[in-house]
């Protein structure tokens, strides 16, 4: 089978993708990607305010992937792999991530995201403080604050989807928009 790389390129170009990656998510990769994105934001001469917001949200999105893959993927090499894309359309930045998730974990994640999505700005602030102060700390220090923080900083609903893969896995995607 021959891949048509131009089709990929053209699709990404039309969606104004600035950077994309598919593969294993390592700490070193995240360091590099964050450095690249920071210099791109500088080159685009974004206001410090928007630059910080994009950077902060990107850190949370990518570290979500990192911690998630670390947790679930001992048994199957394919599911260590994930994808992310960062694009800019008009004045909004889009961060899209995708990763495999066990079907058995879908319900709890879906509920967690839906619970966040019904909260107002003030309620998110209170919820954040509650989880920060009382929440369990996972071994890696994640502790469930990431998604709340993303919703709070972007001021938008978390846009997500689960695409069925087989009887064991689905592909979870998260599409985060940061408007100026």
């Amino acid at each position: 089978m021959m891949l048509n790389i131009y089709e990929f390129y053209d699709k990404m170009e039309r969606n104004n993708i600035m950077l994309s990656f598919k593969g294993d998510i390592t700490s070193e990769l995240l360091t590099s990607v964050l450095q690249i994105m920071e210099s791109k934001l500088d080159t685009l001469q974004e206001e410090p305010k928007i630059k910080k917001k994009v950077y902060n949200v990107l850190v949370e999105c990518l570290q979500n992937l990192y911690h998630h893959l670390d947790e679930v993927s001992q048994e199957n090499d394919k599911i260590r792999s994930a994808i992310f894309m960062i694009g800019k359309i008009d004045n909004s930045y889009n961060i899209i991530t995708g990763n495999y998730i066990k079907n058995t974990n879908i319900e709890s994640l879906k509920k967690r995201l839906e619970d966040i999505n019904i909260l107002t700005k003030e309620e998110l602030k209170e919820y954040y403080k509650l989880v920060l102060n009382n929440g369990e700390m996972s071994m890696k220090g994640g502790g469930g604050l990431g998604m709340i923080d993303i919703a709070r900083k972007t001021g938008q609903k978390l846009n997500f989807d689960f695409a069925p893969v087989d009887d064991k896995y689905s592909f979870f995607s998260l599409n985060i928009k940061i408007s100026q």
Partner: protein, 126 residues
Amino acid sequence: MEKISIEGTPKTPTITFDTGKGFLEIKGRSIPENSIEFYKPLVDWLEKYSSKPQSVTSVNIQLEYFNTSSSKCILDVFKKLEAINKGGSAVTINWYYEEDDEDMLEAGEDYQAIINVPFKMVQVAE
């Protein structure tokens, strides 16, 4: 009395803790994947310091970015400071934020609401 420091990296802040002067500073970025590991030495130093603190303890938090993984560890640091404040050393936490950075100001206010230690919000120019 000793002076302890950790050199900053692109993902972790510079930490200076001068126990003789009762001065602690955390400055830079705090976005490591594993924050617990990074903050453990500081929490241990504070534990040690709390047995014989200076009469006044001044703390500067000047972070450009921090991730949610760090936010729990920073709370642990503040809880140690809360205990030190209760134990007789007058603690002040100076929370620095750049003038347009509402997210960083709000993050400081979140801690202020949780921790029973005087906070001072300090605005700095970009």
